[in-house]
């Protein structure tokens, strides 16, 4: 018996409202936190952080952001890459303009700037719905990338249009630039991802979250029971973009170190983040992490198996990888359209009832 709920009673609404109402879940959650914060930093190496952990955490933040918009508020967006670029370029401009201010503050402000831009591009959502809106968000994607490519002020007039992250420190430990220790890179990503997840969880389980979900499930009914659709949709766009902007800033400053709008924040980014939340589970914070993990780790594993283990030509492996990722997406949708999070939920329900199935 994995789950023992008997005797796990709640005596106040506060207790009933917490994120993990079941004690067992809560302990597991604390255990994962302890491992990630206290143990992993001492174990990680360069490859592990650069190839898996850092992209996983950063994509998780982007996925949380997009999940707020798409999973909770029901507005499909294909502009994630563009909004990540806003975060990256804002962060770059702030880093170079105010070198003495902490990078953490820059990243947060970059998120704020992205939130404003996101809200502006969210305006059409009041008139345009469904796939039309999804396609319309591509306008943001293409326009923003074009803008960052075109206006040299954004990349400080450098000859090539590349932006490079100079070295910045947190408590004298470098977190950007070439001399970052793997554990430092991991920790800053982890802290941002953790805080983002907690904030997103709080927002989505409260009044704002219900507003968004009401709009998602039935916008007309939501409006009639008193939800202001303008406020609901724009807040979803803004808050979603805030997280996406933070992930973009981290992606550029901490992870890549150098970036170019079209190359690093192209439409592929928009798609990959969308895959993450759909495979992970729409409307689930856990799903954002699960989807990001799957899509970051899967190609690495496939590559290890194909190229390093079987010794097949890398091109062939890359093609097979496409086939497998495509098949997996389809398989997931066929087996469980609501993603990994739903699979997890079902598994949990089964465990709770075990050994008495229904």
């Amino acid at each position: 018996m994995l789950y023992r709920e008997a005797g796990d009673f709640k005596t106040s609404y506060i207790e009933d409202n917490q994120t993990f109402p079941i004690a067992f879940d809560r302990y597991r959650y604390y255990a994962i936190l302890a491992i990630s914060f206290l143990i992993l930093p001492f174990l990680v190496n360069d490859y592990f952080v650069n190839a898996i952990l850092a992209p996983f955490l950063i994509y998780s933040i982007a996925a949380i952001g997009l999940n707020i918009l798409t999973g909770y508020c029901g507005q499909v967006s294909l502009g994630t890459g563009g909004f990540m670029a806003v975060g990256a370029y804002s962060c770059y401009k702030l880093m170079t303009a105010f070198p003495d201010v902490s990078i953490v503050i820059h990243i947060i402000i970059a998120g704020g700037i992205t939130a404003v831009i996101g809200a502006v591009f969210g305006l059409p959502s009041l008139r345009i719905k469904g796939f039309y809106l999804a396609v319309a968000t591509l306008a943001a994607q293409f326009f923003l990338v074009w803008l960052f490519n075109r206006v040299s002020w954004f990349y400080n007039y450098s000859a090539s249009g590349q932006i490079n992250a100079p070295e910045r420190t947190v408590f004298t430990i470098p977190v950007t630039g070439p001399n970052v220790e793997p554990w430092a890179m991991y920790m800053i990503c982890l802290i941002f991802a953790f805080v983002s997840a907690v904030i997103a969880r709080n927002l989505t389980r409260g009044a704002l979250g219900r507003t968004w979900m009401a709009i998602r499930d039935m916008d007309i009914a939501a409006e009639i029971i008193g939800v202001n659709p303008l406020k609901a949709k724009l807040s979803a766009f803004a808050i979603s973009s805030f997280f996406v902007g933070i992930s973009g800033a981290l992606f550029f400053a901490v992870y890549l170190g150098a970036a170019e709008a079209g190359d690093s924040f192209g439409i592929q980014k928009s798609f990959i983040v969308l895959f993450m939340i759909i495979i992970g589970g729409l409307g689930s914070i856990f799903g954002s992490f699960a989807g990001a993990a799957l899509l970051v780790v899967l190609p690495v594993i496939l590559k290890l198996i194909g190229a390093d283990f079987l010794g097949w030509p890398t091109g062939l492996v890359a093609h097979i990888q496409l086939v497998i990722v495509g098949l997996l997406i389809i398989l997931f949708l066929v087996l469980e359209p609501h993603g990994l999070a739903q699979l997890w939920r079902i598994a949990k329900e089964k465990l709770r009832l075990w050994p008495f199935p229904h």
């Binding site: 490859y47 650069n50 190839a51 590349q162 490079n164 079209g262 190359d263 594993i301 590559k303 890398t314």
Partner: protein, 426 residues
């Protein structure tokens, strides 16, 4: 199966350095929008090293191991490849993408592994006083722009004032590289300079070519990559632009770029920093030792194509740098730091190239502590559609250092200042 797989994964993650071989990571791209250009290069790169292993038993008796890693021309995958292979004792990185180069430069500098971006990447890395670990010999984009203009000067008895030159370019970091150089040159030579950008992927270039039709520039310089190349050549032929006045950079001058346009492409020119064609003794050896023994990386039908040759050339320069390093440090089993020394002392002479079975294959150049870019020579090749062959139509031309060196100085110094670097070579 499970266990061994797990071991393989663990091995990659922990990556204990096995120093027995000379390790060359090959960050190739055999998928994605630029696969068509990435495949022949990667094949050439691998085949040359295979040849050295098969024929000579490696370099200086030490066998060579090429670790290929697929980047799909994608910067994140490039970073992953770098991290996955750097612990294997990698001697030099050739990232094959300007984006990946920019990402790797700081990392590799911190890790002490040289980066060689041959004809791409960060141009100002030529300044060895700032960029200790980065090399971009034999030439770079700014040199390319200058060489193209020099060629135009040659065609016009050194007077091109009042002529119109338009740069048609990939709207991204790579395409924007030559703009400052061309602006400086336009000031110097008095030609009228315009730019036309094409966004990725560049399948639709109607408006750009209609503008060209309207503006009637005397020459078009072209910085394109991927499908953009094929479409541009096709559109130029369509509007009946005189193809001999249409000059592409070396990444826009392969067979695959001109073949789809058929006869229309006849006369199209491109810059090259190495020779073209399969008429070199080395290719007989590759046929004999690599293709015929079934060890070729590809189907073996790419030999002699421009991009295959470039892969061979890149591998050859790397191998020569290893030899130089072996001589300097008097050991066959070199490290990446020794590799850097070898690269910094690399000298390519006509004699040496002839010895290697590549007579007149590339320009002669010499790398020094201050100059990581060599002399920057390049040549012009022209496409003969009836023979379906590229051929060099000029000698290797030297760029206009008077214009380029100050630009390089300024850009590299800015980088040094931004990153608080001390200058070397004093």
């Amino acid at each position: 199966m499970k266990k061994t797989l797990f071991a393989a994964i663990a091995a990659t993650l922990v990556s204990g350095a096995a120093m027995a071989d000379l390790v060359f990571p090959s960050l190739s791209y055999r998928t994605g929008p630029f696969a068509a250009g990435g495949i022949p290069f990667a094949d050439g790169y691998a085949d040359y090293f295979t040849l050295l292993n098969e024929r000579d038993g490696g370099i200086g008796g030490v066998p060579i191991k090429v670790i290929e890693c697929e980047t799909a021309y994608n910067t994140e995958k490039g970073v992953e490849c770098y991290e996955a292979t750097k612990g294997e004792g990698s001697l030099v990185y050739q990232p094959l993408s300007t984006g990946i180069t920019y990402q790797i430069i700081p990392k590799a500098s911190a890790d002490g592994i040289p980066v060689h971006s041959m004809g791409y990447g960060r141009t100002s890395a030529t300044n060895g006083r700032v960029f200790e670990w980065v090399f971009n010999y034999p030439t770079n984009y700014w040199n390319g722009a200058s060489i193209a203009v020099k060629h135009i000067l040659d065609l016009n008895d050194n007077d091109i004032s009042g002529k119109k030159i338009t740069l048609l370019y990939f709207n991204g970091a790579y395409g924007k590289e030559p703009i400052p150089t061309l602006e400086a040159l336009s000031e110097k030579h008095g030609f009228e300079f315009n730019t036309l950008a094409i966004d990725f992927p560049g399948q639709e270039q109607k408006s750009q070519w209609l503008q060209i039709r309207r503006d009637q520039p005397d020459y078009i310089l072209f910085w394109g990559w991927g499908v953009m190349n094929q479409v541009a050549v096709q559109e130029a032929a369509n509007i009946r632009y005189p193809m001999e006045n249409f000059i592409g950079i070396w990444w826009s001058g392969a067979e695959i770029d001109v073949l789809p346009a058929g006869d229309g492409a006849n006369g199209y020119k491109s810059l090259q920093f190495h020779n073209v064609g399969s008429d070199f003794p080395i290719f007989d050896d590759i046929e004999k030792y690599v293709v015929d023994t079934g060890k070729a990386a590809g189907a073996g039908d790419q030999i002699g194509t421009v991009l295959y040759n470039r892969g061979v050339y890149a591998a050859m320069l790397a191998a020569e740098a290893v030899r130089t390093a072996q001589d300097i440090h008097n050991t066959a089993d070199i490290t990446s730091a020794m590799m850097r020394d070898g690269m910094e002392a690399l000298t390519m002479t006509p004699e040496r190239m002839a010895e290697l079975g590549l007579p007149n294959f590339g320009p002669t150049f010499q790398v020094t502590c201050e100059n990581h870019g060599g002399e920057g020579l390049g040549a012009i090749a022209q496409w003969d559609a009836s023979a379906t062959k590229w051929a060099l139509v000029t000698d290797f031309i030297a760029p206009d250092d008077e214009v380029i060196m100050p630009l390089i100085e300024a850009d590299s110094m800015a980088y040094a200042e931004e990153n608080n670097l001390d200058l070397r070579c004093n």
